[in-house]
Subunit: 365 residues, 2 copies
């Protein structure tokens, strides 16, 4: 039996966790990134180069059987340059749709998936039209936005113009402000053919700027079903293969699509310990056209990001049942350097344990 | 926070799974083995050399903060040569006790742990004394025995002498034949100080020569408690640190110690998916003196060894909830090349699922 080789464009923590999921499956992952100390390059073979450089991509492709990616902000033309030589999953056209907010929202609309009203802001002249959305509006750059970067909340046309200039006068959209009850996301996996699986909706909460994700089986089955239908429609339209994540606002009892990521996602990290099969393993299985693994949760789970620098490791590990994930990164303010996961059969107890963990992470002791 | 580095003597599948458990914890494992394609050397930095060579061990020690091992059949003098330069866990004296059946049984006896009656066979002249054990007896070489190697069941003094000669006239013991109800084992973890945790007793069953291990919470709490007391006594006596495994025969409602392994163990592989913290993570935590992780099982679990060559991967992965572990080895008759694990909340259903898996593994389709 030959040993399958998957090339991963990008070697951040997502590439690292993909590579680690590959080893037990007998899959050799080979990552592409700029530096040898990138998190993924520490645990897998690496090709060094720019993610946007067709030559670097060709070098990666020469080492592997199929190519995937862990970051959507790569040049689609570079990915397309591999066309005919090697398969790329998800397809570059899907990456293109996900890396541009205008294309993304246009896609949502064409599939009747609710999304916030918006106007395009390509020049200062476009700003007055934003008033029709009601104030405030959220100015978002069309590209390169993630984790809230490239976003500004503004309360007037003048402020909108100023913010647009401050963000570099790049093509943007102004979005109606959604008063939401909470943020949730759905991680889906599209296999070869029609096989697909869905993880349960999770709730994403920020406390002191730190993301905590909890599996939310208490959310209604109707919302889960609705979200699954929408992701199925998106994956079908995009001829998708692999993990796709869509973030939603929950407002007034319904879901409003916010954005999508054509990759494994921070809000799916809990699946490593919390689900029967992790999002990382399932992404690899999908990319190779293998049967998908059972996405069922093993109970209630909570995931907490570790930002800037790692909290005292032994204090955290002394908390019963806390799983530690170190991304192998140097500390830097605000940088995602790791995460922790807790799984419990009882949700109130889980939330209490999460609180103890948050206390250590926030106070650093 | 500095990145801890653990040196592992041996880079078979156990070293591989230890190294993979290290990455999320931010631990760099560095393995020592003869070849660069050893299972562990495929996933971690490696020093190439003989496991018994003090120079190779010194080279390994120079790269790491602490040394451990994944195989007990190494020269204790080589391990002892590291003394004073770097800590070795478990201590070489414990390895010595575990690699020699006579020392092992003497240890069991000195701690009042029941074990089969035996006589030493150092020459043909010792054979007649074995008759006092009643026939048959099991001839076992004192050293280098594992997975049933170096063992012969014989029914007479003449056969005993012949078998001893066939096995190379090496120092051996002849053991009384135990009519047992089943084989079980206990995996314990001794941390720094007095912290220790125990996994539940597991039952080890061979079917067509293939080991299947199932977590056996149906075994009596009294047996669990008894076994934990004995392992505590052994670990205390040996000033132990790390994972220790003892295999028992269950006979007439009680336990009889068969042998011990000073390392992570095949009968603990189920803990990767089936327990809150795996034996591999807990061994690393123990070696570093970190708090130990929760050993609680996540339900019922079954582990099946894959021998010789891997079964058809996609057929196995299509079975819901089957976890696949490929050791990265070339096929060879009888060689352990991987294992599969299943976890279920219901034991009868688990055994049914195990049967479906065994059918694929045995028939190869």
């Amino acid at each position: 039996m030959s040993r399958p080789r998957i090339g991963i464009v990008g070697a951040g923590q997502l590439g690292r966790m993909l590579a680690l999921a590959g080893y037990p499956l007998g899959i050799d992952c080979h990552v592409l990134d700029r530096t040898a100390d990138a998190p993924g390059a520490q645990v897998a073979r690496a090709t060094l180069g720019e993610l946007d450089d067709p030559k670097a991509l060709a070098k990666l492709a020469a080492e592997v059987d199929v190519v995937t990616l862990e970051i959507e902000n790569v040049a689609v033309t570079a990915l397309e340059s591999l066309s005919g030589r090697i398969e790329v999953f998800p397809p570059p056209s899907a990456v293109a749709a996900a890396q541009d907010r205008l294309m993304e929202k246009t896609l949502f609309r064409s599939l009747d998936i609710p999304t916030a009203e918006f106007v395009t802001i390509d020049s200062a002249d476009d700003a007055p039209a934003a008033a029709s959305l009601g104030w405030p509006v959220v100015l978002k750059t069309r590209r390169m936005g993630y984790d809230g970067r490239g976003q500004r909340v503004v309360h007037s046309t003048a402020a909108l113009v100023a913010a647009w200039r401050e963000q570099g006068c790049v093509p943007s959209i102004a979005e109606a402000w959604i008063k939401f009850d909470r943020e949730v996301s759905l991680v889906a996996v599209q296999g070869a053919g029609t096989e697909r699986v869905f993880y349960p909706l999770v709730e994403n909460v920020h406390r002191e700027g730190i993301l905590a994700t909890t599996v939310a089986p208490h959310l209604s089955a109707a919302l889960q079903q609705q979200a699954e239908q929408w992701l199925t429609a998106i994956m079908t339209r995009l001829r998708y293969r692999g993990v796709l994540t869509v973030e939603f606002f929950e407002a007034g009892g319904g879901l409003i699509a916010n954005e999508m990521a054509p990759r494994v996602h921070n809000s799916g990290h809990w699946t490593i310990e919390g689900a029967e099969t992790s999002q990382f393993e399932n992404h690899l299985r999908a990319v190779l056209g293998w049967p998908l693994g059972d996405p069922r949760p093993r109970g209630h789970a909570a995931m907490l990001n570790l930002l800037g620098s790692l909290p005292p490791r032994q204090t955290v590990l002394a908390l019963p049942g806390v799983h530690w994930h170190d991304y192998g990164k140097a500390p830097r303010p605000g940088r995602k350097v790791g995460h922790c996961t807790i799984v419990d059969t009882d949700r109130p107890r889980l939330l209490k344990r999460l609180e103890s963990l948050q206390a250590v992470v926030i106070t650093g002791k």
